[in-house]
């Protein structure tokens, strides 16, 4: 009997221990990035088990908001800053400044006195162009947004739907900021005539270009460079007018029982070890790491990025999406 009780106590202790070292992370980072990133965390904290919910920006945000009354996630890792601004408004975030949080450049974190989110990298608009198909059609390589609206690209371009894709939104937002609203919408009208498909995810246009289903995919830099490595005939073009961009940022979820492990994770997620890994994928990181800019990116990435007004973007997001949906989402006939 005594032995049984001892066994029971041991089992209970073990179970309690195992549960204590477990956190749930919601992330919109790319699937091929996570295993590489997380390696150093697992080495430093083998006792903490990390579970992931990974999805497109829109889906992760939707999930967070749907669970507002009973949050599941402990930590948000690498989600669009515009989405985190919305989550903050909904009261979902608990301000927490991680150990190296002070190092993050001011422009790349929440502007509040007690910042709720910290940016780890910036991702930016890049066009994925299928050079084989382009050569087959004897077309010139597009250099910027203006080129994409030319009639010779009719039906050849895939673009992410800004309503569901973070990449789609940052691109539309950049176009409206660069050209001004009136001209921006007029440009998007013309671009619409050239679009073969609006996709839900920001990676997909690039992958469609990779298989020839589209010739040009409006996507983001990292994706195109990755696919070229895989052997797809993809050239990545950064638009000459400047790229739209958004931050991937981290935050602590406000819930009844906040786990100390969640803070340990957030500390690690902006540490130099982690930042160096981000620097392998992105030209811009939360703070400089001294690593060279990854091959394929412009030499001076900060110059490539437009002057982005996040406040304006977050405040006008709903209106922009409603207008976009009214103009381009209601077409009842398929486009060829």
């Amino acid at each position: 009997m005594k032995r049984m009780i001892l066994a029971l106590v041991l089992v209970t202790l073990y179970a309690a221990n195992a549960l204590a070292g477990e956190i749930l992370v919601y992330t919109a980072l790319e699937d091929d990035q996570i295993p590489r990133y997380i390696k150093s965390f697992q080495e430093q904290h083998p006792d903490i088990a990390v579970k992931f919910v990974r999805d497109s920006t829109g889906i992760v945000t939707a999930k967070l908001l749907a669970e507002k009354d009973n949050p599941q996630a402990d930590v948000i890792w690498g989600l669009s800053a515009v989405s985190l601004m919305q989550a903050k408004q909904a009261g979902l975030l608990k301000p927490y400044t991680p150990k190296d949080g002070g190092k993050i450049l001011v422009a790349y974190k929440d502007a509040a006195a007690a910042p709720a989110w910290f940016g780890i990298d910036a991702w930016m608009t890049g066009f994925c162009v299928n050079s084989v198909e382009l050569a087959g059609k004897k077309l010139a390589m597009p250099e910027g947004y203006a080129d994409l609206a030319k009639p010779e690209y009719k039906g050849l371009i895939a673009m992410p739907n800004p309503a569901s894709s973070g990449t789609g939104f940052l691109t539309v937002s950049a176009i409206l900021q660069l050209m001004g609203e009136e001209q921006g919408w007029a440009y998007l009208d013309k671009l619409h005539d050239n679009i073969t498909a609006y996709t839900h995810s920001g990676s997909k246009p690039c992958k469609l270009a990779g298989t020839g289903e589209a010739v040009i995919g409006i996507s983001f830099g990292y994706r195109g460079l990755q696919q070229k490595k895989k052997g797809e005939p993809i050239e990545t073009v950064f638009p000459k007018e400047g790229s739209g961009w958004d931050l991937e940022a981290n935050a602590l979820v406000d819930k009844k029982a906040i786990k100390p492990e969640a803070m340990v994770f957030l500390d690690w997620a902006v540490s130099m070890d982690a930042m160096k890994e981000y620097a392998q994928s992105f030209a811009i990181t939360g703070y400089p790491t001294g690593q060279p800019v990854p091959a394929g990116f412009p030499a001076d990435p900060a110059k490539q990025m437009i002057k982005n007004d996040f406040d304006w973007a977050a405040k006008n997001r709903d209106r922009i999406l409603a207008e976009w949906t009214r103009r381009y989402d209601g077409k009842s006939e398929p486009r060829k």
């Binding site: 749930l24 009354d69 992958k207 895989k230 999406l321 009214r326 009842s332």
Partner: protein, 600 residues
């Protein structure tokens, strides 16, 4: 008339037959079980739906807006056009699917064509895959770089000097309709073959002796005999298509339908109120279908009398070769389509490097959860099949074979049919709202949510699948039960045999092939479903079908095809197993039907 006399005979008999001193009379026990059925359906269907209807009447901030959301919906052209698109696509799909499904089922049940097992297996194949796979395969066939569009990459051009390349303009309604016909075909076929399987040869004999032509016999004997099944098939096909989002998501292009609207509203714009509103708009056809179904059912009399004589399948060579050709064409089409998906999952870099490899089956550096997800899906499908089949069949029995308690049966019937109109996304969303809420407030009262613990568990996934696939299983069970004369119940009752004994000894064994088919239906659909579980799966429990959606969404089409192929393989294995089981059971339990039926 027969029914009325029967009822008059038994109704005079008092209910406390059996053990007269026991308070638990048969009728009371049946009543209690019916109440339990209603309670479980109430918790799993009605309450979450009431919750989502509530959401549709509030704005995003939780303020009461009445019908404001609906007004917005119908006055926003880009949204309301989806309703017409959905109606159009569903109608065309239903006409094509039911026509093809009817003749296919007819060939399998009423003619002596060879290779029935093969044809049945192939026809069920589309059921084995997530709807996304139909879209993916269509892209590999008819997309810009598809096999058909490019004439097998110019192979025909080079070899034969002719260019059969054909661009059907896949993206849009054409693609949706093709994918939905493939999607609904097996389900329509399943319902119709069960309806066609049982008939009374005496009716055909009578028609022949009265000199009726073949066509006349078809319209006056065959069609009326399967009227109920036909109506169910139309109804199921329409609603399945109306509420599917997988196919429009992949091949819909800019052609918006209601189901993709919900997805966009919720996922893209985080507009839960509008998502709920579109969900409620989707409910309207069910209510209509429900009333049509009740009307038709009122006229339905038992087709197979206890003295029915089985109909030998038609062996006329002309008929057989016609139906053989017909089934051959359909089977070839379906196989081409699945084969393309298999092939595409093996090609290294479509269309630039056509060498074959298994890289896409590694799922390395990829979302979805790989083989762990596949294992979870198998477990989930197994539980759903076991619990789902037991519950549907028994409650269908209670509702169909109980006398009296009409109001209770009507409520139970309605609740059993309602899930058919609920798109998976709506069920998923409703379950999140319902099971994740820590408490409910009813005016001044606040109740702790007793189901809160279910959130993000295997149990909620199983529950969700049981509800999602409840109606078709229920209809299958009801159709099978309907073809058994109520006389069986009346006779056992008059002999003092309790209903559960009749159920175990007569009803269930006779319906065993249907029961096995229902279990299999639950399993393969739970394996393949995406929409219902995409909101409910948790990090601990990645699922294979969600992995397909996620990988396709990220543009990793080939690995998505590979995962879908694995799902299909698991389902084919289960199908073969259940087919063998069904055949054994048929031999044992259907012997009373005569031994001249060639049932695979």
């Amino acid at each position: 008339m027969k029914k009325i006399t029967l009822r008059a005979n038994t109704e005079g008999a008092p209910d406390q037959r059996g053990d007269p001193v026991h308070w638990l009379t048969e009728q009371r026990l049946r009543g209690l079980l019916l109440v339990l059925t209603v309670v479980w359906l109430g918790c799993a269907v009605a309450l979450p739906m009431a919750n989502i209807i509530g959401k549709s009447l509030h704005d995003g901030a939780g303020l009461w807006v009445g019908l404001g959301n609906f007004k917005t919906y119908f006055t926003t052209p880009s949204l309301s056009v989806s309703l017409w698109n959905s109606l159009f696509v569903s109608t065309v799909t239903t006409v094509i699917s039911v026509t093809l499904g009817f003749f296919f089922a007819y060939a399998l049940t009423r003619t002596a064509i060879p290779c029935k097992g093969f044809f049945r297996g192939v026809a069920m194949a589309p059921l084995f895959a997530p709807t996304l796979l139909y879209g993916i395969a269509l892209i590999y066939l008819f997309g810009r770089k598809g096999l058909v569009t490019t004439g097998c990459f110019g192979f025909f051009q080079q070899t034969f000097g002719l260019n059969p390349a054909l661009d059907i303009g896949l993206y849009g309604k054409v693609g949706i309709i093709i994918a939905e016909v493939i999607f609904t075909f097996p389900q329509v076929m399943l319902i119709l073959s069960i309806a066609l399987r049982v008939t009374d040869a005496r009716l055909y004999e009578a028609a022949r002796s009265l000199g009726a032509s073949k066509l006349r016999t078809f319209f006056s004997v065959t069609l009326p005999g399967v009227k109920y099944g036909l109506l169910s098939a139309v109804f199921v096909s329409f609603i399945l298509c109306f509420t599917d989002f997988g196919a429009p998501k992949v091949v819909g292009g800019q052609y918006n339908v209601l189901a993709t609207d919900i997805y966009k509203q919720v996922i893209g714009q985080q507009n839960f109120a509008m998502g709920a509103t579109v969900g409620v708009v989707l409910l309207l056809p069910t209510v209509l279908a429900f009333f049509l179904d009740r009307l038709a059912q009122r006229r339905q009399a038992a087709l197979v009398a206890a003295r029915a004589v089985p109909l030998p399948p038609c062996a006329d060579p002309g008929t057989v070769s016609f139906y053989l050709a017909f089934c051959g064409c359909i089977a070839a089409g379906l196989l081409l389509f699945l084969g393309t998906a298999f092939y595409a999952s093996l090609v290294k870099v479509w269309p630039y490097d056509l060498s074959l490899s298994l890289t896409h089956f590694r799922f390395g550096n990829m979302g979805g959860g790989g083989y762990q997800a596949l294992y979870n899906s198998i477990r989930m499908a197994f539980y759903s099949a076991v619990f789902g089949t037991g519950l549907t069949f028994f409650s269908a029995y209670l509702i169909e074979k109980t006398r009296g308690m009409a109001a209770l049966r009507h409520v139970a019937y309605f609740l059993s049919m309602a899930p058919l109109a609920l798109p998976g996304l709506v069920i998923g969303l409703a379950y999140i709202f319902f099971f994740n809420a820590p408490d409910f407030s009813l005016g001044p009262l606040t109740l702790a949510n007793p189901f809160n613990g279910l959130y993000a568990t295997m149990a909620i996934l199983v529950l969700c699948n049981m509800v999602h696939f409840y109606s078709v299983s229920f209809l299958t069970a009801t159709t099978a039960l309907k073809q058994l004369d109520k006389e069986f119940e009346a006779v056992s009752e008059s002999m003092g045999v309790p209903f559960y004994k009749t159920f175990m000894r007569v009803t269930a064994p006779v319906c065993l092939p249907a029961v096995v088919e229902i279990a299999q239906y639950f399993f393969v659909n739970s394996m393949a479903t995406v929409s219902a579980v995409i909101f409910l799966y948790s990090a601990d429990l990645p699922l294979a079908s969600v992995a397909v959606a996620n990988m396709d969404d990220a543009g990793d089409t080939a690995p998505a095809a590979a995962m879908a192929v694995l799902i299909v393989l698991v389902n084919i294995a289960v199908r073969l197993g259940s087919g063998a089981l069904s055949a054994r059971l048929s031999r044992r339990s259907q012997a009373w039907m005569g031994n001249n039926r060639s049932n695979p």
